[in-house]
């Protein structure tokens, strides 16, 4: 299968196989009108199988969310057809409207307009807790 190489844009590589679509949705890539490729189950020496996303546009969006969904991804920045930067994504310290609090007693269950905010409370174990009620994210 051939996917054209991109000129200016990003390649999200080393996505755990099967998580590509989740990342595609979370980054709202469906809303772009530039070429976007989601390639699933690519052979990988390191990972066995992996997903890759290529976006052929000079995008600037918050990619910290990737650190929450799949901490091992790398983001390659391409300029004029050349790899100019390889980013490792760190765990975000705060997640806003990425996941929802499941605690039925949480204020977010009754106040619909509140943003669902989670903060990183334990980086080693990747534990996020609701800002309001401190319930652990599932």
């Amino acid at each position: 299968m051939n996917i054209d190489s991109i000129k200016n844009g990003i390649v999200i590589d080393h996505i755990t196989a099967g998580r590509g679509m989740e990342i595609y949705r979370l980054l709202h890539l469906d809303e772009l009108d530039c070429p976007v490729a989601l390639i699933k189950n690519v052979q990988s020496r390191k990972m066995g199988k992996k997903d890759i996303i290529k976006v052929d546009a000079d995008l600037h969006f918050d990619m910290t969310i990737l650190g929450y969904v799949d901490p091992d991804v790398t983001v390659n920045v391409i300029r004029d057809g050349n790899l100019v930067e390889k980013k490792r994504i760190e765990l975000p310290t705060r997640l806003v409207d990425v996941i929802r609090c499941k605690n039925p007693r949480c204020i977010t269950t009754t106040e619909q307009e509140l943003p669902h905010i989670f903060k990183l409370t334990n980086p080693e174990q990747r534990v996020y807790r609701c800002l309001y009620c401190e319930t652990k994210a599932e």
């Binding site: 949480c106 807790r129 609701c130």
Partner: protein, 305 residues
């Protein structure tokens, strides 16, 4: 501007300062009688509560201030669908400080993010109740004179007992504290508190279902009520309600200088016969709560005497 949403919002130094002010209020009440003259406390209680609201109101009156009160959520704007954020913004136009109790966890935090005046969390669901913790801390301090090296037993509902969570969190900052957790299996302390508070701070603790077995080692026994409003299921509540009832018999092996605390109200978990035992300090604790709330109001309103 400062708020008190979680007991961890206060450093141990600030807690010591509050203890100092509260003890000064106890010794010299007249000095503080007009300290908050012209100031208004809004008590916004969206969940039934008598003692905490009365304690806040008594505290403000004894500081010479006034009180605006919402005591019944059914009659308030919340019943019409007003958000906590809008309520906080509105009340900021009328009052100088807010004390909020709300059944939803995190509601006082939302209020503090939107109010232009200090907000005190007066209890949010099963989450936090920091001013009760201040009452507990002053009581322990007055009874024992220190926190270091105490063995503190928590008995009853350790799962939903927000006063337990807050007090454990506060005590975990003192050296040599030893915690004993006594509860039925269904009401054990949530594992995140064990991990994030006790283990993280290196606090030794033990868990047991047997109150009598650990009674001789306790310096403090903190009893709690199994609260009906925390259960979705009436059957579970009825089954666990009478799990631990403290009677004079059970105190036979206790230390002579044990202090028995309870955030009140009690239902039947402490026999009335224990009230006359000098080790029962739960009514002193009520009074201490008022003094600590006075000290806190002074601090948050930045009143300098």
């Amino acid at each position: 501007m400062r708020n008190l949403i979680d007991i961890q919002d206060l450093s141990t130094t600030e807690i010591e300062e509050l203890i100092g002010v509260a003890e000064d209020i106890i010794e010299n009440p007249k000095k503080y009688a007009e300290a908050c003259h012209g100031k208004k406390l809004a008590t916004l209680f969206f969940e039934p509560s008598t003692r905490t609201r009365l304690s806040f109101e008594a505290a403000m009156y004894e500081l010479g201030g006034n009180v605006l009160s919402v005591t019944d959520a059914l009659s308030s704007s919340a019943a019409k669908g007003e958000s906590v954020a809008d309520t906080a913004k509105t009340v900021s136009c009328y009052a100088d400080i807010i004390a909020m109790r709300h059944p939803k966890e995190g509601a006082p935090l939302v209020a503090s993010l939107n109010a232009s005046i200090p907000v005190i969390n007066a209890g949010d669901g099963g989450h936090n109740h920091p001013t009760q913790t201040l009452a507990d801390i002053l009581t322990i301090h007055r009874e024992k004179g220190h926190f270091e090296g105490l063995t503190v037993g928590f008995c009853g509902d350790l799962k939903f007992g927000r006063t337990v969570h807050s007090l454990i969190s506060a005590l975990s900052r003192y050296a040599g504290i030893h915690i004993v957790l006594i509860s039925p299996a269904e009401l054990k302390l949530p594992s995140y508190i064990k991990k994030d508070v006790l283990q993280k701070n290196g606090i030794p603790y033990e868990q047991t279902t047997d109150l009598l077995a650990v009674m001789p080692e306790l310096d403090i026994l903190y009893m709690t009520r199994v609260q009906k409003e925390r259960f979705f299921n009436e059957e579970d509540y009825l089954r666990l309600r009478d799990s631990y009832i403290l009677t004079p018999d059970k105190l036979k092996t206790a230390k002579a200088d044990l202090s028995i605390l309870h955030p009140l109200p009690r239902v039947n978990e402490i026999a009335v016969a224990i009230d006359d035992d000098p080790r029962a300090v739960y009514f002193k604790q009520v009074k201490n709560g008022k003094y600590m709330r006075m000290a806190l109001i002074l601090k948050l309103l930045e009143v300098v005497l």
